[in-house]
Symmetry: C2
Subunit: 257 residues, 2 copies
């Protein structure tokens, strides 16, 4: 069974999508097969890999809204061992309609279990929208690990309170084994606010935070324009190296479990 990772934070613009693409690609470099799933109606994950939004025949919307088999929504990407389930704008209606269905929180988990009988992946990464609605709940109910990308700024650090209470709720209602790790992203070491908040996060979350920090790197603004992960756009850039270090730290964490 694949190791499932949800990448979520209610706070917008903290590098959730950038982390899904970069970490996913870095894991394939180590020989792992990786499935990326775009649960955000914005469809930035698909776009960041060069796939136009609403271009695919079968998307995440079909899987969640019409119980379409997940296996049929999987596309290949230009990157070896990296696969994608694209999103569509229609997914926004799932935020509204899913809660009125029974077991709405475990639809994705059931779809992943059915998939595991047909295809096998080493890692599955779920990119979430900046909201704590039913799409994010489905991702957390299905995940072994929640990665919370966090910019070392005031609003982003404050959002961790809501994330912690959401984790408690999902553990109580659907997924007692859900673990979490904070990932500091978009860090500018020259900036006093960033240094101070980063320090506070390490103190408050000690074991619950990755050692690897992703720093600001303008190459990460360029790579989505090229439709490529940073590892393939500028493999020797600082951020490519940092996401490789993150992949390494993650693999060691998973193997220890």
């Amino acid at each position: 069974m694949a190791y499932v990772i949800a990448i979520s934070n209610e706070k917008g613009g903290v590098a959730k999508t950038t982390t899904a693409i970069s970490l996913g690609a870095a894991l394939t470099e180590q020989g792992f097969s990786v499935l990326l799933m775009d649960l955000d109606p914005q469809a930035n994950l698909s776009l960041g890999l060069g796939i136009e939004k609403n271009g695919a025949r079968i998307t995440m919307a079909n899987v969640l809204l019409e119980s379409h088999p997940l296996a049929e929504a999987i596309q290949t990407t230009e990157i070896e061992r990296l696969f994608l389930v694209p999103s569509a704008s229609r997914l926004e209606t799932a935020e509204q309609s899913l809660p009125f269905r029974g077991h709405f929180m475990t639809l994705l988990r059931e779809a992943l279990q059915a998939l595991s009988e047909k295809r096998s992946f080493d890692y599955i990464l779920l990119d979430c929208p900046p909201a704590l609605g039913s799409l994010t709940l489905n991702a957390l109910a299905a995940a072994h690990l929640l990665i919370i990308p966090t910019q070392p700024e005031f609003f982003s650090a404050y959002a961790l309170r809501d994330m912690m209470s959401l984790i408690r709720r999902v553990r109580a209602e659907a997924n007692p084994e859900l673990a979490y790790r904070i990932l500091v992203t978009m860090m500018d070491r020259r900036n006093r606010v960033h240094r101070e908040i980063h320090e506070q996060l390490c103190k408050t979350f000690a074991q619950g935070i990755f050692n690897t920090v992703i720093e600001v790197d303008t190459r990460l603004r360029e790579s989505p324009i090229a439709g490529l992960p940073i590892t393939h756009y500028k493999g020797n850039s600082r951020s490519a190296q940092q996401y490789r270090a993150l992949a390494q730290e993650l693999v060691e964490y998973v193997q220890e479990k």
Copy 2:
């Protein structure tokens, strides 16, 4: 009747909240009375003015979910002529439940019309969550003008396609007079991606974009920690001046109408 401005973009982290607080405060410096309304369950607008989340007795959630009179939810802030209607986490459920009520898109407009009989403001600014659900639809249905904060980066510029189709939908279904203006935010003039995308935005949107550009300024990372708008935290900073220039450009636009 107050001039109502929605501040919205599906893309997360593009300075929607920072713009609501900064522009609101800059308008009060010109002698206008301003009401800020927090439509985001994250409640960053309230937090950025020093008000703890879920601390208030009556919030936006009571107004939209239980038709509580808007006048009773209004609080004063430390800033003269600047008033606030706070948010609460519960507002997340409004995203799910509102669409099943009749006329769900105009609940906010009706609440604002009832308010105008009791209290008068010159400007009302609505801070929206990073999603195109029923909270944002309510804001667009109630607004004279939609300001779209846009970071000059690939994902943020791409989100404008969805924003344009949402504007067409709201004009057809609820608010034919809705106008829009793009505001370029968090601009780093030394960055090539920022310069190129800014240029493209000016070409594509000619009349639909503010001349004022808000540049990156670390003071805007510090001011929410102090619970103060930038105009009161560091009045002589570059970003305070830029938000004052924006207020001036807006007032001239409104007076021409």
